[in-house]
Symmetry: C2
Subunit: 135 residues, 2 copies
């Protein structure tokens, strides 16, 4: 029950881009070198962030990546869910049909409430606030 390395690197990448002037293009190599992430692995992560509208990609020799929208409009939850898919701390929260005991299960609401609390915390923080904190 742990964030994947992919999810963690996604958060770091968006933090990196949030610390640049808005719309400034950054290279994959910059972010990869900063955090010691293999470049090909990082490229895949950035493509997921592009697909979900958090990051914008620029082609060409001077191509690279920038945020697709202001850092203030991107929460930690947005990034995590872009990489890992919609949060589901237990299988029954992903798809109710996957649990045949759901109707009789007194633990379902425990998972649901715990997940909600977790999600609320990740929603609270946007990358504009985070990027202004200590580097």
């Amino acid at each position: 029950m742990q964030l994947t390395r992919e999810g963690d690197y996604g958060v770091r990448s968006v933090l990196y881009l949030s610390r640049q002037p808005y719309k400034k293009i950054s290279f994959v190599s910059e972010i990869a070198d900063m955090y010691g992430i293999p470049r090909s692995f990082l490229a895949k992560i950035l493509q997921k962030l592009v697909k979900s509208g958090i990051v914008k990609s620029y082609r060409g020799v001077k191509g690279g990546f920038s945020l697709a929208r202001p850092a203030k409009e991107i929460s930690v939850l947005d990034v995590v869910e872009s990489i890992e898919g919609k949060m589901a701390m237990n299988l029954c929260l992903a798809d109710r049909k996957k649990c045949e005991f759901l109707r009789q299960c007194p633990v379902h609401h425990v998972w649901h409430n715990a997940q909600q609390k977790f999600i609320e915390e990740l929603k609270k923080h946007n990358f504009d606030d985070l990027s202004r904190q200590k580097k």
Copy 2:
């Protein structure tokens, strides 16, 4: 970022035992059949719960398992951590040394707080309360 099947089955097993008269011995086969868990997989899970002092095992022909302490003294968190180890929603929460960016990382406290909220919810619920809810 999801509870393992092992963790989920551990919670169900403790719920099952909590619904029995205190100290009544249940067979692995009862719990396995109830939830459709492979018996050998369940036996391993129960051994982890024995090791952490939540479940007691009885040897012999009429051997089996019961709770090792009153259901009221067992939280959902106790069971999850017995199976999955101490909760760490991100690597840096498991071992600070594993993150070389920790001193400069503004996201660490976000993970920490979100995890705390999650943990508090799982701690709130004990198996005596849960076992009295709808079957």
